[in-house]
Amino acid sequence: MAERLRDRVSAVWPPTAALLGLFALLEIAVALGWTPITIPAPSAVAMEFGQSGADLAYHIVPSITATVAGLAIAATLAATLAGIGASWRRANGPVMTFGVLVDSTPLIAVAPILIVFVGGGMTLHIIVSATACFFPLLIGMSRGFRAVEATADELFHVLAASRWQRLVKLALPSALPYIFSGFKIAAPLAVLGTLIAEWMGAERGVGIMMIYAMFSFNAPQVWMTIVAVCLMAIGGYGAFALLERAYLRWAGLEEAPT
């Protein structure tokens, strides 16, 4: 127990020290006037959080909403398509090709077409966010739906299990590790999708706050919004990582390869 703790500490302190060192260097460099105006001291960014915190909160709410909605829509679509691909083998190739096409489409290119049809509001943000995170979810779910071991499948056949029993007692528990790792990759991408969509136009959102800060050359505020976006992404990743850890520990399974 104590040893585990010591291992942890010895793994954590070098990066923490490196980070704090970098912060300190930056702070000194700024104090000595070595840096351009675009690189503020970490303390200035922290103070900005205090000053514009209310503003940030006002802007971050719709961003989170769009991200969560985008993730949910993408997950539903991915589950449907992966389900079709898994239960109908001939559909799998086209489903995957579709996924690759969506994944390699530059969002910035399709967004204007979407703007023409749905305008620049929340709908656009949700659609772009969903598009951005669709592919890893599709991959995770199709791998998951195939994750049932052949002999376990035979066991359920010999036991004369119904389709529903197979799904609930075998397919879902085997698929979950892959689905979780899909969500872990997808969550930061959904955040990025929302951000890009908000850059293109929004009344409220961290993206538009960042753009305003950029135009008014308010470097600490730009940095603050960047940090906020990163925290959103890390939060999403972390939430699914925690869920995954809890499930894997409960289920006695290994983490799915990515």
């Binding site: 002999t151 066991l155 010999v158």
Partner: protein
């Protein structure tokens, strides 16, 4: 009425458009309540034959009867217990939950509780353990308990102890015989080991490969209950030798007739 009757069964697989005959006109019967062993070289179709009996595949030709009815009826009636070569436990379920899986699926109340079965295979105290916490031999015992929990009329075992060391394996064999006698099911055991086949079975069916055929049958007239000491007796050795004879005679014969090779 749950003997197993296999009449003229042939099984062909399609492999990339080519047809592979895994089993060729197999005739074999296992009387009710008896213990049969299947032995033969790797790839001769032992597992395939068990899967045919369990209605995992249908035969290409011929017919199988389990208790006078087609295997599908027996399967849907939850009359078949199957032990795979790998334990195939669900890792997210405890020992008790794994053993109870067939009960949940069949939706019946069994005469014997999962706990009783766990005691029967000697794992009392491990009811709430997860499979990952058990040794290979213990996992295989859980698999046997799971196969027995619905008191199946037919117990099919595909090299259940293949992955175990010699000592554990012999201990498990003795236990398995005890469990089989208590349950009174018709049992078929697939094995690679001659001594195991002779020790366990009333009758040893020897298969030959390419394509799988019945090469011969050896009746084992050793008294029951059997103990490890029996393996030292001259009678046991004589029986082992007759099985060996059938196994290897057939091989030399197969070599002299190359047209029987894979097609």
């Amino acid at each position: 009425m749950t003997g197993i009757d296999i009449r003229g069964v042939t099984k062909r697989f399609d492999l990339d458009g080519r047809s592979l005959t895994a089993l060729d006109s197999i005739d074999l019967s296992v009387p009710e309540g008896s213990f049969a062993a299947l032995i033969g070289p790797s790839g001769c179709g032992k597992s395939t034959l068990l899967r045919l009996i369990a209605d995992v595949f249908a035969p290409s030709e011929g017919a199988i009867a389990v208790g006078g009815r087609p295997p599908k009826a027996a399967r849907l009636n939850h009359e078949i217990g199957f032990v795979f070569q790998a334990a195939t436990l669900l890792p997210w379920r405890t020992v008790r939950e794994n053993v109870a899986l067939p009960i949940e699926i069949a939706g019946v109340t069994p005469r014997r509780s999962p706990e009783a079965l766990i005691r029967l295979v000697g794992l009392q105290g491990f009811e709430d353990a997860k499979p990952a916490q058990l040794s290979g031999g213990m996992q295989q015992r859980v698999a046997i308990a799971r196969a027995l929990v619905l008191e199946p009329k037919v117990l099919l075992m595909d090299e259940p102890f293949g992955a175990l060391d010699e000592i554990t394996r012999q201990r498990m064999n003795v236990e398995l015989l005890r469990i089989w006698r208590e349950s009174g099911t018709t049992a078929i055991l697939v094995t690679h080991t001659i001594s195991e086949a002779v020790f366990m079975a009333d009758r040893v069916h020897v298969l030959s490969a390419n394509p799988g055929r019945v090469a011969g049958v050896v009746d084992v007239d050793l008294p029951r209950p059997r103990s490890i000491d029996l393996m030292k007796s001259p009678r046991f050795n004589a029986l082992e030798n007759s099985v060996r004879q059938v196994l290897f005679d057939d091989d030399t014969e197969a070599e002299s007739t190359p047209e029987r090779a894979h097609g």
